[in-house]
Amino acid sequence: MLNSVQLYPEKSNDELLSLLKEMWTIRFFDEKVDEFFAKGMIHGTTHLCVGQEVTATGPCAVIKEEDKITSTHRGHGHCIAKGADINRMMAELFGRSTGYCKGKGGSMHIADVEKGNLGANGIVGGGIPLATGAALTSKMKQKDEVILSYFGDGAANEGSFHESLNIASIWNLPVIFICENNQYGMSGSVKEMVNIEHIADRATAYGIPGKVVDGNDLIEVMNETHEAVKHARDGKGPVLIEAKTYRWKGHSKSDARKYRTREEEQAWKEADGIKRFRDLLISEEIVTEEAADNLRKEAKQEVEDAVKYAEDSPEPSIDTLMEDVYA
């Protein structure tokens, strides 16, 4: 239990440590993917969430297992945070038959029914209406489940965002819209693409609460999401949360990041949310430096094991190409 700060919902020391480890897993997973892309061992393209671990882990840490999420093209972190098996994730990126989509989908299309992940999505803004629809199901079937919809600042300019917020508002649906504002939609700076300071301010236009949070502060992200989830579960309708964050890497593997400065990148790296949470746990004497290092190593090893699993997995047979088109 934390003493210096109030965290909702309260988490045991073991739970706090597993959150720290999960964020490391997310980081190492994507760093490994980056490495394999550079080596040409994974092909296609990928979108890495290095630097955005807090906004993946925090919201998923306050919802129940049966609650659902929709994710984005930058979705590895969301998948891991919602409990995905990193072996099957890595296998999908390797295009292997043991992957989440049997090799058909790749990086942008990991869905996990068992864990309540309605799927990453290769279309920007594609998941927002789906989350709203899932929330409609929850309401119609009186399931008491909430849906978290992850999307980026770029998606907040798509029609699907605006249409969904309005519908969720008028129908009072239990959906939390989580905008991971990582400052750039590919090369488009949010400062140039949005003429207001906070995307969360758009909530006002739809008559729902909008909150801005520091996306590198796990405690703040969790507390605000917790409150939003409570609001939605109490039948008071949707909430828009905007988490200010930063993707440390380029948009995708082919991005030289000419649209931003190295100084800006460095400043965000110094605000690293994983380090911040680790330091908090150490200062609260929940973990020693040594034990934290061991946890970090464990996470790294698990990612290595996932690579091994993927490499050892068979390629999909061509016959499966025609499967899963219809019921």
């Binding site: 296609g44 989908g105 300019n157 029609g159 190409l321």
Partner: protein
């Protein structure tokens, strides 16, 4: 004559039209300083400035719609859809507005917009970065759809598209961007929209295709030439409205016709080509018209083995031509 790549031809056509006509401007995602994901607009922002090369938010419906409005009121916009797969939110604007503007306004308003989009697979883009979308639009009078195969055709046809008084969808095969190179005259030229082009004269089998598949057909034909099978190859270039006369002539010439597309077979525009041949060439045919196309699955899968199986290639075409020759 200079040898340039397919994408350089795209770039050169836009540059020349922008130099000539101040009404021509570009809008799309990351088309400005970044020069586009595939570098189609590289250097244009630097040369013509931000007034004429507009980076837009991620909002495809508005990219098309704003372009259409600007075109109606006297500009000549060239709108870029980052991937053909992303055109879906813009379909309403394209079909409901662009295609019908002239007809519904008693010919008072026109819509001289060009909408460019990279289509097709073979770059490991997986489900949402590989699709062929032409048949979604090739049933909509009011639109013209150009799908060139060579740098020469790209340049001449894109210039014509920009100059055209009606909306033109210009689909560029993204795998061809750097793969396909060819000679382009130094002096200015345009090519007529609506005209197919004989890419190779032959006597035994007629292959009708477009885009990247055309090159695969040329490769197959060259190989079969040694075996004494002479292939006649017609490049549709404009896939809507079709050049009926050229299709009838090419089909009648050999009496054995193979139609090749990367799109999935059922409902592809090759069905229409086939119908034209059935209506006009019955007594000239020596074999049933054959269609070679992609499999009936929702999108191109990610795994390398599956993508390879899905993609058209010279071997598939060679086999189909040989079978037709033996009929």
């Amino acid at each position: 004559m200079a040898v340039i790549s397919y994408i350089q031809a795209v770039n050169a056509a836009m540059r020349e039209e922008m130099e000539k006509d101040e009404k021509v401007f570009i809008l799309g995602e990351d088309v400005g300083e970044k020069g586009g994901v595939f570098k189609a607009t590289e250097g244009l922002y630097q040369e013509f400035g931000e007034e004429r090369v507009l980076d837009t938010p991620l909002a495809e419906s508005a990219i098309a719609g704003v372009g259409i409005g600007a075109a109606m009121y006297g500009m000549k916009p060239v709108a870029e859809m980052q991937f053909a797969d992303f055109i879906m939110p813009a379909v309403n604007q394209i079909i409901s507005e662009a295609a019908k503007t002239r007809y519904r306004s008693n010919n008072d308003w026109t819509c001289p917009i060009t909408i460019r989009a990279p289509y097709g697979g073979g770059i490991h883009g997986a489900l949402y970065h590989s699709q062929s979308v032409e048949s979604l639009f090739s049933h909509v009078p009011g639109l013209k759809i150009v799908m060139p195969s060579t740098p020469y055709d790209v340049k001449g046809l894109l210039k014509s598209a920009i100059q055209d008084e009606d909306p033109v969808l210009f689909f560029e095969h993204k795998r061809a961007y750097r793969l396909v190179k060819g000679e382009v005259p130094d002096e200015e030229y345009t090519l007529p929209i609506g005209k197919a082009d004989i890419k190779k004269e032959g006597e035994d089998i007629t292959v009708i295709s477009y885009g990247l598949c055309l090159h695969f057909a040329m490769e197959a034909a060259e190989k079969l030439e040694d075996e004494g099978i002479s292939t006649h190859i017609l490049d549709l270039r404009t896939v809507y409205p079709l050049d009926q006369e050229a299709i009838i002539e090419a089909a009648s010439k050999t009496g054995k016709v193979l139609l090749v597309t990367e799109d999935n077979k059922e409902g592809s525009l090759m069905g229409e080509v086939s119908a034209i041949i059935a209506e006009h060439c019955l007594f000239d045919l020596d074999a049933p018209v054959q269609r070679l196309a992609g499999p009936e699955v929702p999108a191109m899968p990610y795994a390398p083995t599956m993508e390879k199986y899905f993609m058209m290639n010279p071997e598939k075409i060679e086999k189909a031509i040989r079978e037709l020759a033996q009929f």
